[in-house]
Subunit: 281 residues, 2 copies
Amino acid sequence: MRTVAQNAELALLLEVAGTPKPGNVDRHRDHDDLRFEHFLAGAVGARDGLDAAARGEPLGESFRRAIEGMSAQRGGNTQFGAILLQAPLVAAAGAEDRTLSPEGATAVVDATTVADAADFYRAFEAVDVAVDDPPEDMAALDVRRGSDAVPALKERGLTLAAVMERSADRDGVAREWVQGFDRTFAAAESILSADSERPVADRAADAFLELLAAEVDTFVVTQHDRATAERATERARAALDGDIDPEELAEEFAAEDINPGTTADTVAAALFVALERGLEV
Amino acid sequence: MRTVAQNAELALLLEVAGTPKPGNVDRHRDHDDLRFEHFLAGAVGARDGLDAAARGEPLGESFRRAIEGMSAQRGGNTQFGAILLQAPLVAAAGAEDRTLSPEGATAVVDATTVADAADFYRAFEAVDVAVDDPPEDMAALDVRRGSDAVPALKERGLTLAAVMERSADRDGVAREWVQGFDRTFAAAESILSADSERPVADRAADAFLELLAAEVDTFVVTQHDRATAERATERARAALDGDIDPEELAEEFAAEDINPGTTADTVAAALFVALERGLEV
C-alpha cells in the first residue's frame, strides 16, 4: 500500500515514462537541456511537499516546498504545472473529512487563503516557469515577480483560488482548479477502464493523446500562439483517428518545438487519481 | 539538497533509466512481465525503509521495510539486490558518527546483529528472489524459508554480516558487503569523473558495461551457469573495446535471456555514492 504522496510521486514518474507523448520528454525522447533524468529527480524532490499537503499542512506552503524540492536538478522546470494540479487533489485524498472527488478537491480550493497565494508566488522563485504577460490590471500580480507581488496580493485580499480564477481563461491548470477538475477525473476514469494488462505508462500515453485531441493545450498557446495550438490539437485528433502514427506526430512536434505541457500536467494528475482509485502498476 | 534516502531512491531510478544496459530492463527495454514501470514503483516504495536506515533504525528492519515497499507492484523482484547493497551505505551516510566510505560502510556491516539477520530473512517473504540452493550444511538457512529460518539463525547466533560472509563466494552483493564495497566505490568514482555534460543515466550505462566486462555477474551464474556468465563478461569486454555495438549486445542478451542483475545492483549503489559525493543531475 502506497501513501497518498507516494502515489502522487509515482504518478509524476509514470507520466514521463509514457510514450509516445508527442512534443514532450518521455521514455524515448529528451529535449536538449531538459532530459528524462531531470523529471526523475524532480519527482523524487517533490514528494516531501506533496506529503505535507496530504497531511493537511497549508496548501500554498506545501506546494512551494514541493516545487523547491522538484528544482534540485539542472533541467529547470519539469513538473510545476503537474504538481500544481495534483496539490488540491492530494490534499483532498489525505484529509479525513474530505474525499478525492470533484467536490472534495473543490472544497480544498475554496478553503485556500491569501497566505496560500503568497506561497504560490514564492514558488516561482525556485524555478523559471514560462508564462504569458498578465493583463494590464494584473501587472502587479505577475507571477514572475515572485514574493515581490505578495504586498499586492495582500492588499487585494486574493486567495489562491482567486488567483487561479483570474488565470482560468488562459491556463489549463487554473481552469481545472476552478471547474471541478473535470478533465482530470475523466482522464483518470479512462485510464482505469483501459485493459488492465496494458502497461500503465502506455495508458498514460493514450490519455495524453485523447486529452490533446479534445482540447487546445494552453502551454502551446503561451509558447507559440492559438493557431499553432489549434493545429496541434487537430494533429492529435488525426493520430487518435489512426490517420497519422503517434510516433510520427512526436517527430513532427519535436521539429516544430511544440510541447503540450498542460496536457501532460493533466495526465500526471489523472494518474494520481487513478492510483488512489485502485489502479495497479 | 536531497536527503540521503532521496538520493538512494533517485539512484534506483537513474539506474533503470540508463541505456543500453544489455540484458536488463532499461529506458528502452522491458521484459515480458517485468517492466520499466515496475522499477519506478519499486523505487518509490523503497524510500521509506531507506529513510529508516539513514535515521539509524535497525538495518535489517529498515531493509525489510524497503523491500516490502518495493514489492507494491505487479512485476515481482525489481531491486532487492540493489537495496541490499545500498542499505549499509545509506546507514553510513546518515549516521553522525560515520562517513560514507569503505570504512564507514564496513563499520555498519560489522555492527549488524542476529535480529538484523532475522529481518533480512523475513524480507524474502515479500517477494520471490532467484537464488541458488545453499550448501548442504546451510539448508536450514535457505533464504527462501523466510522467517522459518529464524530459529536456526538464532541457534547459530548468526549476524547479518555472518550471513553475508557465507554467501560471498557465490553472490556479488554479499561479496561487496564483506570486501569493503570496493567495486561500488570504484564505480562511483568512474561515474563522478566522467564528462559532467554527459547525462547521468548514460554514465550509469557506461559503468554497467565496465563492471560487467571486469567481473562475472553472479546472478547470471545463478540463472544459467558459470560458462554462460563468463561468456557474457567476454561479450561485455568486446562491447567496451568497440568490437560490438552495446545495442547489439542488448539484443543478443535478450535473445539468450541473460540478465546481469548483480551488475545493475552495483550500478545503483554506485550512483547513490556518487550522488552523495556531489554528482549533479
